[in-house]
Symmetry: C2
Subunit: 349 residues, 2 copies
């Protein structure tokens, strides 16, 4: 049975405002190239996963924009959540909507808003994970080899080695957002991986585990999957991530280390780190002119940005709005979005 | 004979880029209010100078935009220079185009790209200057009472008092752009005024003085004035300011002190100084949101500007371009314009 992929594309967020908006979230943006993060997520599956074996879960509201970006996928490959209920209902619901044959085979659940610099390394690890779940009934997290002591991610503490491809291990413990000291200890130990939200399993494995650990959620998602027009069934599901609903509770979670230049692009500042620098260490997207200016991120979705004599700034021009923020405060863009909402400028958020 | 005014609106410049462009220079911009600097220049003449006694000199290229801003003026009140030749040809040519009756009466020549906070004080001084030139054959410079040791302006050193309205004096010496030490001495002396390019005279007085000090220019401008279709006559005139061609050479120049909140708005930084501050000392025009940000000038001709955590910046959004520059370097905007020109982005300059 060839492997399938379920891409999660229903997320929303404010960290890339003003380029990202309610109707145009991060995964739909071409932040670090000509293709959107969602398109790159689909593109990098080839040739490992055939196009006709790719499913996309997104919200009803985002459906048209998501489909427009993926014309190569048939209409029935898009599973639309009537309302947002986080990843556990999205995954369970989409599995229920898939043909039984796909559900019974190896399947990868993949976020659509991350960047991967080395798609070939990614596919190699993904192929190994598919082999694992074909050989045994298990759930494999693809764990990113940590590069710094990040406190915003979840960590997988490595347990015993398992028979299978090199690096396959049990996860001894799942630790969400550690404090800085713990994160530093984790990094130094060499015995943790970042949880990147990428999981591989047979669909039937995941559903049976979910029935055990979250029976109401599993039953509700299954009921909606056979009557997808009944939005109230989906709306009644709890809003919960697959991490909290299931993965953290497993005592036999497996992991494979993933070393493929993964970046979650969590902010404008993270984008600065992955774009190529000019001679003055400025990074730009679109038409930008920097005169006697250093270390700036200049992101022009439309029009032209010119800066003179400034350093370490993020300057974004997109869809009627301009944002200027120091790089080290780019994580706080939400404050601007909150202010705009409070001022009734919902046209901009 | 009622007094007339000749407004000089042919200038160009780069200091307010990107709001100002080749086809939309500073005088056409509403920088510090709802009306453009040119419109305010006309507005503030009422009721002292009747609308039908106002003439406007501008370039052929700017003619349509200038007329559009001043629908209250009859078409024959606009004098179009075929090519730019600075203020001496513009004034001499426009005087030649005026009806003889207007040329023989009191007349004020006024720049159109400055700001005046107190129009009533301006009109009081202007009215006094009109009285002076009605009573005697002379040229009166309206001299702005200096507020700081500016090195970019011309200074009028005060000479002997003259009979007439309070403050009327001879100008002992005309000094262009002094060094800082001289400017500081001037400021401390209380015996200098800034040359603001505002002169009052009878047109016939000015033309006869010009015939004496710059006979070829006077003859050439007169020849063009009777054959304005012959652009080559105008093009043959030297490009020279009225200051250099005439005013500096006069040994009987008069001056009246002008204390009316005059500002030449020489840069974005100067505009910051005249706009009203918000609670965090930010100044804005158009839709702007400042979060945890201080002392910024946020100028949105279109769209919305949002800043977070920045201080002392100029941020401008206008006509497809964004500019970000520290306030203290706003004088250097020309460097950006030069860079855009070099890159072939003439659409933006």
């Amino acid at each position: 049975m060839p492997a399938s992929a379920l891409i999660l594309a229903g997320g929303s967020g404010t960290r890339f405002w003003p380029a990202s908006r309610a109707g145009r979230p991060k995964q739909l943006l071409a932040l670090a190239g000509a293709r959107s993060l969602l398109q790159e997520t689909v593109d990098r599956l080839a040739p490992l996963v055939a196009t006709e074996r790719i499913w996309v879960s997104t919200s009803a509201a985002l459906g048209p924009a998501v489909r427009e970006q993926l014309p190569q996928l048939a209409d029935d490959r898009f599973v639309l959540e009537p309302v947002g209920r986080n990843t556990a209902p999205a995954i369970a619901g989409a599995l229920g909507r898939m043909p039984a044959a796909a559900r019974e085979g190896a399947l990868a659940v993949l976020p659509s808003d991350h960047r991967i610099a080395d798609p070939e390394a990614f596919r190699d690890t993904l192929a190994a994970a598919f082999e694992v779940v074909r050989a045994r009934d298990g759930i494999v997290a693809l764990g990113v080899v940590p590069r710094f002591a990040e406190t915003g991610f979840g960590y997988l503490e490595l347990g015993a080695e398992e028979p299978g491809p090199p690096g396959l291990r049990r996860v001894a413990r799942f630790r969400e957002k550690p404090d800085l000291e713990t994160a530093q200890r984790y990094l130094a130990s060499g015995r943790t991986l970042w949880n990147a939200g990428m999981f591989v399993f047979r669909g039937t494995t995941l559903l049976s585990r979910l029935e055990r650990h979250a029976p109401e959620l599993a039953a509700g998602a299954a009921a909606w999957a056979v009557a997808p027009g009944r939005a109230e069934l989906y709306a009644a599901l709890p809003s919960i991530s697959i991490d909290h609903a299931l993965v953290e509770r497993l005592d036999d979670l497996l992991t494979l280390p993933l070393d493929c230049g993964w970046d979650d692009l969590g902010s404008w500042s993270a984008l600065f780190d992955v774009l190529p620098p000019d001679g003055d260490a400025n990074r730009s997207h679109g038409a930008a002119f920097a005169v006697d200016a250093r270390d700036n991120l200049l992101f022009a979705d439309d029009g032209t940005i010119a800066v003179l004599g400034v350093e370490g700034l993020v300057v974004v021009r997109s869809g009627g709005a301009v944002l200027v923020v120091p790089r080290e405060r780019a994580q706080e863009v939400r404050l601007v979005v909150d202010r705009l909402r409070a001022a009734g400028r919902t046209d901009l958020v």
